[in-house]
Structures are given as structure tokens and as C-alpha cells.
């Protein structure tokens, strides 16, 4: 029903753009709406994580000794590596939007692929961190049973200190927050695969780049959340 009729073309009316949804009048109106929508979605994401950040603050206030002690289980160098990977991926994500707007197809594909790859690096490091901890029994809540080996690997100054109660609570918060963030990274990777496929089909250009823009905005938020998580868990 939305196929442009022959009559319209004959009268010289511009055919309806391919990716203009039926209920919008113009591509501009459609872009405004999708931008508005993604910002509103990001607002709800901030509150979604906001609950966990609040929980972090409350548990840290309830058990300060626990948070001081447990952070020695985390390797700040791995965290820093991941921070760099995500910041770089935000740059390539922003670049992909620019390329789409300018109609640079090769640049767009490269920027999308780099973003995807950097997200893969992040998840790879995360996998190493998680598997190392879980292998040594550094699990969440009541399942926390740290092995002798990992306790011996703690810095000299820490080894002599009494082990606080409820060590698992720290790791519950750690796994919840980084895990939820990790799920967001995985979703982002899926979205970038989808964008790469569409970019290969030549869908994007100066007239239509809304999806690239929206996914990049989402990706910047995922990056931002990590920028808060890194110091809260690894540094302070």
C-alpha cells in the first residue's frame, strides 16, 4: 500500500524514500523522532544502572573494611586496558556516524568493524578476569570460597590483615554491575554486527543515518558507565 504509484512519478513527485516509515512526513521528522527516542531510552538506562550505583554506595558505607580489602583481588592493569579499549571504541563509533553522514562507505565499514573489534577485546579481557576469579572460588554472595592460592597472591601488606566477613557481598556487587554492563556490551556488539550488515548493503548515507547515530549514542553510554565502574572497583 505504500509503494509509490506510477502516477506520482509521472507527475514529477519525488518517490517516497525507501526507509521512511509510513507514519512520518519526512526523513527529517523521522530522524528527530528516533533521536528523541534513543535519548529517552538512555535516560531510563541511567536509572537502571543508578539503582546499582546506589546499592554500591550503601554497601560501601555499611562495610567499608570489606571494600578496602576486596579490591586487591582486582587487577587495575586489566581494568585500565579495558577502559582504553572502550574509549577508543567510542571514538570509532563517533567516526562511524560522521562517515555515514558524509556517505563514505568504506570509512563507515572500517569504523563499524573497529568498534565491534574493540568491544570484542573488552569482552575477552572480561572473560579472562571472570574465569580466573571463578576458578579460584572468588564468587558471589554465599558461594564465595577463595582458594589458598589466590589468597597467597595478594600483596604482602594485605595478607596479614584479618579477612572481613561477607566477602561475597563485595563480589555480588562486582559481578552484578560489571555483568549487567557486560550484557550491554554484548547487545552493542550485536547491534554493530547488524549495522555492518546494513552498511554492506549500502543502506546508509547523508539522507539516512539514524540507526548508526542511535547505536553510537547507546555505545557512548555503555562506555560512560564503564568509566564510572573502573575507578569505583579497581582504584578507590
Amino acid at each position: 500500500m505504500s509503494t509509490p504509484s506510477g502516477g506520482e512519478a509521472a507527475r514529477g513527485v519525488a518517490p517516497r524514500p525507501r526507509f521512511l516509515a509510513e507514519h512520518f512526513e519526512s526523513m527529517g521528522a523521522q530522524l528527530d523522532t528516533s533521536t528523541m527516542g534513543i535519548w529517552l531510552f538512555l535516560a531510563s538506562e541511567v536509572l537502571f544502572f543508578g539503582g546499582l550505583f546506589t546499592a554500591y554506595g550503601v554497601y560501601r558505607a555499611n562495610h567499608p573494611e570489606l571494600f578496602r580489602y576486596a579490591q586487591y583481588f582486582l587487577d587495575w592493569r586489566l581494568g585500565a586496558l579495558n577502559t582504553l579499549a572502550l574509549i577508543a571504541s567510542s571514538l570509532s563509533a563517533a567516526w562511524s556516524v560522521r562517515c555515514a553522514q558524509l556517505g563514505q562507505r568504506k570509512g563507515l565499514l572500517a569504523a563499524l568493524a573497529v568498534t565491534f573489534a574493540l568491544a570484542g577485546v573488552f569482552m575477552g579481557v572480561k572473560y579472562l578476569e571472570y574465569s580466573h576469579k571463578l576458578h579460584h572460588g572468588v564468587a558471589w554472595g554465599a558461594s564465595y570460597r577463595a582458594s589458598e592460592e589466590i589468597l597467597r597472591s595478594l600483596p604482602e601488606a594485605v595478607r596479614g590483615l584479618p579477612v572481613p566477613d561477607h566477602m561475597g557481598t563485595f563480589f555480588s556487587v562486582y559481578y552484578l554491575m560489571t555483568g549487567l554492563h557486560g550484557i550491554h556490551v554484548l547487545v552493542g556488539m550485536g547491534l554493530y554486527l547488524w549495522l555492518i550488515r546494513r552498511a554492506r548493503l549500502g543502506h546508509f548515507g547523508p539522507g539516512y543515518y539514524g540507526p548508526v547515530d542511535a547505536v553510537a549514542l547507546y555505545w557512548h553510554l555503555v562506555d560512560m558507565i564503564w568509566i564510572f565502574l573502573f575507578p569505583l572497583f579497581y582504584l578507590v
Binding site: 509510513e22 507514519h23 523522532t33 527516542g37 529517552l40 535516560a43 531510563s44 558461594s143 557481598t169
Partner: protein, 555 residues
Amino acid sequence: MTTAAAGTAQGPAAESYLHHGRGLRSWLFTVDHKRIGIMYLALIAAALFLGGVFAMVLRMNLWWHGGGLVSNDAYNKLFTLHGAVMVFLFVIPGIPAALGNFVLPLQLGAKDVAFPRVNLLSFWLYSLGSALFVAVLVVGGVDTGWTLYPPYSLEGARGLGILLALAALFVVGFSSILTGLNFIATIHTMRPPGMGWFGLPLFLWALYATGIIQIVATPVLGITAAMGFLERLFHLGLFMPEYGGDPVLFQHFFWFYSHPAVYIMILPAMGIVSEVVSVFSRKPIFGYRFIAMSSIAIAVIGFFVWGHHMFVSGQSKWASLVFSFLTMLVAVPSAIKTFNWLATMYKGAIVLKTPMIYVLSFFAIFGIGGLTGLFLGSLATDIPLHDTYFVVAHFHFVMVGSVLTAFLAGLHYWWPKMTGRMYGETTGRLSALLVLVGFNVTFIPQFFAGVAGMPRRYATYAAVFQTNNRVSTVGSFILAAGLCLAVGGLLASLARGRRAPANPWGAASLEWSAASPPSHHNFDRTPTAGDPYDFSGLRLVSEEAGYVRAAGEAP
């Protein structure tokens, strides 16, 4: 398809949205906001019925002070599911998802909401969440109260039921977020030519304010449900003290959502009242900007009052003091609305059709509910009243009585637009009276029982309260009869109702310039908006033809 014959008989008018596509699939996979609204309406009505049946069993059990109709354990599960089903499946989504979905794009002269597929996703999530609540019932229910407070709710014995309930909250929460997101984006970007922000019908201002709360508050419920779910499965030590968790944090999180959620319930109700009171007083709404801005004020202040649910939780007394003060502040915009509605009626030509009678009931019920809220917002009076039937009566007045009467007002008001049929006025009026009388007879005795010290959430009570409870139970039957009559009258109109004209009430907002029922695309061409409360050019032609704007009158 051959259009020659059809075109001449009925003119070029498009077929209605009800006949645009046939079969179950054309409904389940539709992206038409009108069909999604109708499907929501059907499920929400089913939720009201289910929650209502639970309520009637509760009321019958309370006929005798010793209980006895159901076991005490079953009673606990019934009141839990009554609360959860009514709150999450009926009152919160009721007006925005069912009526809002149908009306919002029409009032904007738009073809659809901003994100039609997201809208359908929202409906599916709601359906899935509802199914999960039914599954809670199937696996034996939960007995925690709808607030699901840990540590009790997350202790060993309550396994599958609580997990399903938390999963259901998570899922319906996202349904609500997506609806709010859609509405705000639509109102921002899809207003028609001629409609500035202060040309919006007040129902849309109300939905806008509701959308803010849905987007900002609901994710916190989502994450809380997820945390509770994982806590129960893996003993994370988040909310359970035995593992180092903090149960009061759950209460803070829960009420950070669930208090603003009462404004998700009441703001759209107030929006309907603003529309109906003006149309049926035949007078422009009084104090348009004050009503619009008070919706936003309620949405904003509503975020900072959650602690008034926790005056006895052990939170800091200074926090309680601030929460108490802020709670009083919400009364100001609520009163602004009420006075503006009354001023609208002053010297108006009031037409006592069914929607208006429901709105007058709303004024009475919301007045009582709002004023009794002041006792609970004040620290000193809340302490003795906490967890008594006074609280039960208060929140039923604001959450149930007010929202239900406004919902029924809106349903009758837009019914001709939704179905193309006029409901029977006599049945409608009678149902409105029964609901008003039944509601008050049910809940006013509970105020007295509460002040005298009857605690909530018990299957049995002291014999001295038996009269209060029996009057209350009789009232609940009157209320149920009123609701059945309203539903029966509306359903009967589908078969026997008179065909509705485009504008049966003489209203000026854009939905009444579309056909009744509207075509698939709502409007043949995008209409130009005028003042939604200027009724001066509208003349009643006949009952069959409805109101028509006289030639030469704007717009």
C-alpha cells in the same frame, strides 16, 4: 480489488481500522495504535476481573470476625495477588496503555505513535508479564503482600512463586517504560501544524507527565526485581541480612518506584477529568496552564516523597521530617487542579451524561482520598495509623476509586470513537451511581475501623469491628454490581447500540474530527489544530449526526 462499486456507494471514505485486515494474526501483529489499545483494554479488563474476584473472596472471608471461608494461608496469598494484579496489571497500565494508546495519536492528528513496533513490543511484554502473574497463581501463589519485602519474601520456603512474581515485575516494568517513551517522543515530535505546547489537550499533558515517571522511576523497579531474583537464586547478600545484605535498601528502591507509580495511576486519570469536565460543562477549561503545569509539578515532586512509606522502618528521623514536608507539597498542585475543575463547572451548562457523572464521582472520591492522605503524610498522625485499615481505605480512595471512576469516564467518553457505537445512557448512568455508592459504602467503614486500631493484612479481626466489615462487604457487592452493569452496558452496545456520529459530545479536540470508528490511517489528511477547548462554533445537528462545526467558524 474492484473499487468502482464500493467507491460510489459510500464515497471515498476508507474502511474503519476494525475492518482493516481480518483474523487473529492481523490483531496480534498489528502496529496500529488503535488495535493495540483495544487489545490492552481487553487484557486490562481481564486483570480487573481477576483482581476483583480475589477482592470479593477477601471481603466474604471478612464477613465473620474469625474468618473461615478460606484458610488463613490462602487469605494471605489472596490479598497478595489481589494487590499485585490490581496494581501492576490494572491500575498502572489501565489508562495510559488502553485509552492513551488509542487516543494520543488521534488527539495529535497523527497516523500513529512515534514507534509503532515498540508499541507492539510493549503490549507483548505486558502479555508475558500477565502470564507470569498467572503462573504465580498456578504454582501456589505468594503470601508476602504486594510489596514483597525481604527478608520474609526471599526466605527459603517461597521458591518458585516469588521468582515468577519478580520476573513478572521486571517484564511489565519494561512494558511500561516503552509506553512512556513512545508517548513522550510522539508528543514532542508529531504535533500537527497549529498546535504549540499550550495547545495540547490536557489529557496529553497528563500522559506526558506520566511518561516522565514511567521512564525515570520504572527502571529502578526493574533493577530491584532483578536483584531480588538473583538474591533468591544465588544468596548474593544484597537484601538478606544473614549474608550481609540490607533489607531496608529494598524498601527504599521499591518505594522509589512505587510511590511515583501512584502518580502514573492518577495523572492520566486527572487528564481524563480535565477533558470531560470541560466538554460536559460546555465551557472552556478554566486555568489551562495551571492544570498543565501542575501535572508536571506532581511528576517532579512525586520523586522525592517515597520515604513517607517508611516512617516506621528505622530511617533517620530527619529524613522522615523532609519526606513529610515534601509529601504535603504534593497537595498543592493536586488542589490547584481540583479548584480549576470546579471553576470550569461554575456557571457552565452541565450535561449529566455518564462520563460526567463518573467525573463528579471522581471529585467526591478524590477529595476524600486526598484529604485523608494528609493524616498519613504527617509524621505524628502516621505512626498510630500505620498498617491499619485507615491506610487501606486511603489508598483505595486515591488509587482505586479515583482511577476507576476516571477510567470509566474515559471509557464511556471515547467508546463511540473506539467502537462506532453509542452506549445506552440509562445503563451508564445507573452503573455510575452504583459504583459511587458501592465504593463509598465499601471503604468509608474501613477508615473508622482503622482509626479504632484494626490492623491490615489479617484474615481475622477483633469482634468489635464486625459491623464495619459487614457494611464494607455489602458495599463491595454494590460496587461489583455497578462494574458488571457498566461492562454489560458497553458490551451490549456493540450489538444493539446506535451508530455513533464523528462528534457525539461536541468536543473540540482533534480525535472528534476523525470518523467513528477512525480509518486505519486516522485522518485523510493531517488536520490543523485549533483551541481544544473552544466549543463556540459547534452546533448539534441531530442525535444521529452529532455536532458539526458551523461554516465560517474557525478552524
